[in-house]
């Protein structure tokens, strides 16, 4: 299950989706808006996505994870729009029979998402704003 949403991410329903009788391990990673970046106080984040391509790039990542590890179920949910401190920006969930696979696949997925998926975040500080990674 892969989605981009403007609504708050619903952890309970993601978890319900991941569960199956074969699953012995579920790793859930949550990326959360924190109140500072390199000690500079953050007011909020603004996420923007090229939805169509973001979905297909996330699907490629999930497919590759599926080739590398025996996944039972997975979910990637990325939120966009304005997010305040403490709100979840992304949820990655992986269910496998054994725990090492769930950690490895989950970590692979979040690491790769940050590299290839066309989603952008702007950090809005109390004294300015900046598109993350945009400048040399």
């Amino acid at each position: 299950m892969i989605a981009i949403t403007t609504d708050p991410i619903d952890v309970a329903s993601a978890l319900k989706y991941l569960q199956s009788d074969q699953a012995g391990a579920i790793d859930l990673f949550l990326g959360v808006v924190r109140d500072n970046t390199q000690e500079r106080p953050v007011d909020r984040l603004e996420y923007e996505a090229y939805d169509r391509m973001a979905i297909s790039e996330m699907q490629k990542i999930a497919d590759e994870a599926h080739r590398r590890w025996p996944l039972l179920r997975y979910t990637i949910i990325h939120r966009k729009g304005t997010l305040l401190i403490g709100e979840m920006a992304v949820l990655i969930g992986v269910a496998t029979a054994h725990r090492n696979d769930s950690f490895d696949a989950c970590r692979y997925m979040i690491d790769t998402i940050k590299q290839t998926v066309p989603i952008w975040k702007k950090e809005v500080f109390t004294d300015g704003e900046e598109w993350v990674n945009a400048h040399p």
Binding site: Y50, R52, M53, K114, V117, W120, K121, W131, A134, P136
Partner: protein, 82 residues
Amino acid sequence: MDSSVSVLLFGIVRDLTGQSAISVPLHEGANVEELLGRLHQQYPSLAGVRSLLVAVNGEYAEPTQVLTSRDEIALIPPVSGG
């Protein structure tokens, strides 16, 4: 014969140009590299962006890929999801 392509803009590029889509005149058979050259001419401030990739029909494209006016083209500044 000249034609043009429509280019979707996101993130810092949308902010720099003040537009979320632009029409770029291109000669028939022009490729991704030529599109980027043309965009840099038109918007010199793009030089301040760390990297710019081009997606064609939702896939990252090589510099040599030829563009047509029917393609969905997007300019992809450095991503920062997650």
